[in-house]
Amino acid sequence: MPGNVPITHYLFLSTALFTLGVIGVLARRNIVIILMSIELILNAVNINLVAFSRHLASVSGQAFAVFIIADAAAEAAVGLGIIIAMFRNRGTIQADELDLLKW
């Protein structure tokens, strides 16, 4: 199987997904979508891990992928909580309108 699809393909896919995620994080104004972009980045990492796990015939990569999924779940929960609190207090979820860090 690994012989049929070389690992570099997976890596290219992962890089592309990662780049999409980064663009989403850096360029979107909507914080919900920024959070989704972070999910994209994490999944790009997961693809890498699982691909190497397959090619090295080691299950450790998959174990780490599990951890990353747990991490993603935690991040999503806290992030979304922050979004709700922010919306309640500031009335907006546009990232560039939240400029209190300047002061």
């Binding site: 199987m1 999409l20 909507n30 989704m36 997961n46 699982v50 174990a63 779940a73 909580g81 709700i84």
Partner: protein
């Protein structure tokens, strides 16, 4: 041949979904396309014989996290945000920087392509996946696993506190 076919199918679903996720105006649409992406990744995991992870991906990501996202989108009034500009003022810089990072990563892959040949790679079937992952988690990675569980607990408490009406 079939392997490559599935890989490209899944890869195109993933990339298209990701692209649409970061470009859609409506957050609900973005979430739908993200689900598509995640399902594509789940398929890729199956393709890589990681059945357990594929299941976790579908159940946890698609069934858990994405539902959470959709709830939040419903709770937060996004109508106004949908009618505004979607990209901020630094979007071209962001694009440039992301492209540069991407280029560097690809260049790195290209330069190190020789390192990716795995002479000892085992073709054929892997041992039963769920059992192997379980063994790894509960034997080799016991401590990180417990730490992760504490992290989840902390995140849960944090999320509850964050979302409370009055702090």
């Amino acid at each position: 041949m079939l392997d490559q076919f599935f890989f490209y199918i899944f890869a195109s679903v993933i990339l298209l979904g990701g692209l649409l996720t970061i470009t859609r105006r409506s957050a609900v649409h973005s979430a739908i396309f993200l689900i598509a992406t995640l399902l594509g990744i789940a398929g890729l995991f199956l393709h890589l014989q990681a059945e357990f992870l594929a299941g976790v991906q579908v159940i946890l990501y698609v069934g858990g996290i994405m539902v959470l996202f959709l709830f939040v989108i419903m709770l937060v009034n996004l109508d106004q945000a949908a009618r505004q500009r979607q990209f901020n003022r630094q979007w071209w810089l962001a694009l440039l920087a992301a492209a540069a990072v991407c280029g560097e990563a690809l260049y790195g892959l290209y330069r190190g392509r020789g390192a990716f040949t795995f002479p000892g790679a085992v073709p054929g079937n892997m041992p039963p996946n769920t059992q192997a992952v379980g063994n790894a988690l509960y034997q080799n990675y016991m401590l990180p696993f417990e730490v992760a569980s504490i992290m989840l607990l902390v995140a849960m408490v944090g999320a509850v506190v964050m979302a409370k009406k009055r702090l």
